[in-house]
């Protein structure tokens, strides 16, 4: 049974890492993600890594919200990137061809470095 999605937030330099835990599906999780990303982008934190390793369920509405928030960050001069895709999430990203849009990482350090900073938080 789907349970509510939780988000844990961390910062490394000017990169914000959001760890999602739970279902990212219509009416559950997608609205939580929207509210969270809109808030941090409003605060000027536009470089975002979404860690999807603990996403238990992902549907078209959830993927749609990832796309929507990718566009939100992009329009404010930032980037939204994905980390730790599950096998199912990875499959869905390929089926929808969105792997050509998102930068996807298997390592958090690698994701952070892609923004031009070291995992310690220092600029490279």
């Amino acid at each position: 049974m789907p349970l509510p999605m939780r988000i844990t937030e961390r910062r490394v330099g000017d990169v914000t890492i959001l760890e999602l835990d739970g279902p990212l599906v219509v009416d559950q999780g997608e609205t939580t993600l929207k509210t969270w990303v809109d808030r941090i982008v409003e605060e000027g934190r536009v470089n975002i890594v979404l860690d999807l390793g603990k996403v238990t369920l992902l549907d078209s509405a959830g993927i749609g919200m990832l796309v929507s928030k990718y566009l939100t960050a992009h329009r404010r001069g930032g980037r939204l990137k994905l980390l730790h895709l599950t096998l199912r999430s990875d499959y869905l990203m390929h089926v929808t061809k969105l792997f050509t849009v998102f930068e996807i990482f298997e390592s958090e350090d690698e994701a952070i470095r892609s923004f031009g900073i070291e995992p310690s938080g220092e600029a490279r």
Binding site: M1, P2, L3, P4, V25, V26, D27, E30, D59, S60, A61, I63, G64, M65, V67, S68, L71, R88, L92, V95, T96, K97, L98, T100, V101
Partner: protein
């Protein structure tokens, strides 16, 4: 119970396993619920008659009368509580009997007691849709047919039952069918039924030794797939974001990937002429 807070709701746990009852009660009381316990069916019926419960956690295998009879009784009282059926008996017959008697969810034992608080929280949050009735047209394991109100919460509730019937399938097949079913059912409820709980969606699930066939009929007028510019399936080959931009322009919530995903998960998808009925088939 947490200090200085009003009770979050009143729960009745019905199970002859006293250790489990006490463990569940302790967890729920810590979470702020008021909890009553009944160790047999007759005690449960008496407590239900007295009323006042928001949720019942009900075991099927009680020592005196069947938990399914207690379920039927719970649904007949003046203010019916939400009933979550928990049992180690996962035969299709028991599951379908629970569906017919309007169980809200079906929890297969064993489960982690700690998960129960979240399950109860979820049920309480869905109280409005939990009160809605699912009409059972056919409750044979080979042919399940349901008619349900067009409310998004219904998709979760129906899926939780339907997928229990597919529990013996290989994980990948089961996950693919579950996702396809969820995508098409949500489409039917949201687009065909306009999220109007007075309108109904009809769902049939047919199982043979060689295939699974799901049919979903919505109350809408259908659609022309070629005109769905907000659906990813109509994106140009090299522009996977086109549909998302069109949805933003038109004020449609993010999504539009359901048909594209579903086509990749099942063997055949067939629409009727109006496209307000869809069948999908997964060969086994």
């Amino acid at each position: 119970m947490a200090a200085n807070t009003a009770p979050r709701g009143r729960i009745l746990i019905v199970d002859d396993d006293r250790a489990l009852c006490h463990a569940l009660a302790a967890l729920l009381e810590d979470a702020g619920y008021t909890v009553d316990q009944a160790g047999n069916g007759r005690d449960a019926v008496g407590r239900l008659d007295a009323g006042g419960f928001d949720v019942v956690l009900l075991d099927v295998g009680l020592p005196d009368i069947s938990g399914l009879d207690v379920l039927a009784h719970a649904r007949s009282v003046a203010s019916p509580p939400i009933v979550l059926v928990m049992t180690a008996d996962d035969t299709p017959e028991t599951l379908l009997a629970a569906v017919r008697r309007q169980a809200h969810r079906y929890l297969r034992k064993p489960f982690a007691p700690s998960a129960v608080v979240e399950v109860i929280d979820d049920a309480m949050a869905r109280a409005a849709s939990a009160a809605m009735t699912i009409e059972v047209v056919s409750a044979r394991p080979e042919w399940l047919e349901l008619v349900a109100p067009c409310a998004l919460d219904m998709a979760d509730r129906i899926q939780s039952f339907v997928m229990q019937l597919d529990a013996n399938l290989p994980d990948k097949v089961r996950e693919n069918v579950a996702q396809a079913f969820r995508e098409l059912l949500n489409n039917a409820i949201e687009w065909g039924g306009k999220l109007d709980s007075r309108r109904k969606v009809r769902i049939s699930c047919v199982r043979t030794s060689r295939l699974l066939l799901y049919r979903i009929a919505d109350p809408g007028e259908g659609f022309d797939i070629g005109k769905l510019r907000h659906a990813a399936i109509n994106n140009p080959e090299d522009s996977p974001l086109d549909h998302a931009l069109i949805r933003e322009e038109q004020g449609i919530r993010p999504g539009g990937l359901g048909l594209m995903i579903t086509r990749s998960l099942v063997d055949e998808i067939i629409y009727n002429e109006a496209r307000n009925e869809v069948m999908f088939i997964k060969y086994l």
